[in-house]
């Protein structure tokens, strides 16, 4: 007896380069019965030929930060309906082109927010209390030789200015409140339901803060938002923590201020030209560096995989 099968063509989702999450979690990261993954990175063909070779056109793309979704790429995908990033940031996606072509853009939502907030707090405590530097001191066998380590600075009652009070910024705020910090924020709009002091101007907030934590999006308005004037306002004891995007901070100016003692210290997870980090920072003990992994805990990535399943 013959059985006829109705084969349904599942929507095709393109992955140009393997995202970090997939390297770790394997194909199960985005396995779904609702769509089929098309892995361009497994083919020796250049992308245009690879796409031309496909039996069915691609209607969605998973876009990690290192694969910019440019107008050129979008042009190769005439049936594209959806861009899904593996990041919270969408600054690597040509939003204007997407809007023109009526392509939806979805991000990782708040899958990462807790981890990024945790790292921001971890970096802040590390800088104030010199944790990484003191760990180096002990592991280099210097404690018996040099005696006591230089004192750090108390976190309690410090004034913390959060730049951008979205999902990540809010989580940073609630964590730091528990340490007795005084929270203020700067954002595109005032948030009436939050108890923190609002500043329209980041420089003014810097003048009234002991530390700034950068948690905002990178847009043309926030490019080099943290500049020479902000550093001057923050002052010699002030600390910067950046878990957002490198380009929000004028990196050359930051390096100069740190080397010359114009600001007190920095905790940085992101840089203007990753993975390149200004070598001058390596000589400094009041700087803690992280290779853009604020968001990468195993649990966070598993949560991201769930979000993808839902978004499609």
């Amino acid at each position: 007896m013959t059985t006829s099968y109705i084969t349904q063509v599942l929507p095709r989702v393109l992955i140009v380069k393997r995202p970090a999450a997939m390297r770790v979690l394997g194909d199960s990261f985005v396995a779904s019965t609702k769509f089929e993954i098309v892995k361009a990175f497994e083919s020796p063909l250049p992308l245009p030929e690879f796409l031309a070779d496909q039996s069915h056109p691609v209607s969605a793309i998973i876009a990690p930060v290192h694969v910019p979704v440019t107008a050129d790429l979008i042009r190769l995908l005439p049936n594209l309906r959806l861009v899904v990033t593996t990041s919270t940031g969408v600054d690597h996606v040509d939003l204007v082109e997407c809007r023109r072509r009526d392509i939806s853009v979805a991000n990782a939502g708040s899958s990462y927010s807790e981890d990024v907030a945790d790292t921001a707090v971890g970096l802040l405590i590390d800088v104030f209390r010199r944790i990484s530097a003191a760990n180096r001191f002990v592991k280099q066998r210097l404690w018996p030789l040099k005696g006591d380590y230089p004192l750090g600075s108390k976190l309690g009652r410090k004034r913390i200015g959060i730049v951008g009070l979205g999902s990540i910024g809010s989580m940073v705020a609630t964590r730091l409140e528990a340490f007795g910090c005084q929270i203020s924020y700067s954002s595109r709009n005032r948030k009436p339901s939050v108890p923190y002091h609002y500043y329209t101007d980041v420089q003014e907030m810097a003048a009234n803060s002991d530390a700034l934590i950068i948690c905002c999006e990178l847009t043309d308005k926030t490019l080099h938002l943290i500049n020479r004037d902000v550093f001057a306002a923050l002052g010699k004891q002030g600390v910067i923590v950046n878990v957002a995007r490198g380009a929000i901070v004028d990196e050359d100016e930051l390096v100069r201020c740190l080397r010359e003692g114009e600001i007190g210290g920095a905790g940085l997870d992101v840089f203007e030209d990753e993975p390149n980090v200004p070598k001058e920072l390596f000589e400094l003990d009041n700087v803690v560096l992280s290779p853009h992994c604020a968001y990468t805990s195993l649990e966070g990535l598993e949560q991201l995989g769930n979000v993808f399943g839902l978004e499609y």
Binding site: D126, I131, K139, G147, V277, L298
Partner: protein, 313 residues
Amino acid sequence: MESIGVLMMCPMNSYLENELEKRFNLLRFWTSPEKSVLLETHRNSIRAVVGNAFVGADAQLINDLPKLEIVSSFSVGLDKIDLGVCKDKGIHVTNTPDVLTEDVADLAIGLILALLRRLCECDRYVRSGKWKQGDFKLTTKFSGKSVGIIGLGRIGTAIAKRAEAFSCPINYYSRTVKPDVAYKYYPTVVDLAKNSDILVVACPLSDETRHIVNRQVMDALGPKGVLINIGRGPHVDEQELVKALTEGRLGGAALDVFEKEPHVPEELFGLENVVLLPHVGSGTVETRNAMADLVVGNLEAHFSGKSLLTPVV
């Protein structure tokens, strides 16, 4: 008061030294090559001893100082002071509670984050240039993990309050249940370790709590669990800890204190799942100044016949 001899046991804080020198005849125990001679020469003028977490006042020292009236510790921990002998001889003892609670609790959370998220290793990774070759590996999330606290005193409570802001369920072990506390109580440290992802030592050191974290506790914590010690080195069986870490039976450790400071077991230096600090729990400018003010304040109160600020005995 300039004739009152105050014996300071080791270098601990230059602000404290200066303030003591202004008011008393300060004798620095560590600068004397022949300590017994120092004690003999000044035995009738030394009326106070200032100690800290490293060196305090043991029975021998107390017996060598017949005019000793007060021991003022530049620490909250009293394990280096023979309290029994002090009580017997009517010698007052003061410490520095409350002013350092926040700093120690802040450090405990900082250590948890540094350990779980590998912040120190990440920093090393970037400085070594390895990031150009590839991303750092995945780390472990802190938010939401269960935190088990040994000792729910001032410091333990402050740690719990901070961990709650990270949505961590809080468990604790204490000599007795604390009735007004919403955290889950475990009657033994092994049970606490079995049911917690992160175990934090925050109790005072006494004969009962020496090696309170032993092999059994470490095995209960397991290869996914981590230990944070901001108490005293002898709380943890250090030899067993080294074995548990090198054999992979314990997930990781972040330690601010050790059994024989400043010596740290060699085997720990190469482990990336270990964070080591040189006893800096209260090590901020602000807190050490506040602690110094308490030491000086207690001595001044005592020698002017006023009530002690923070008496223990």
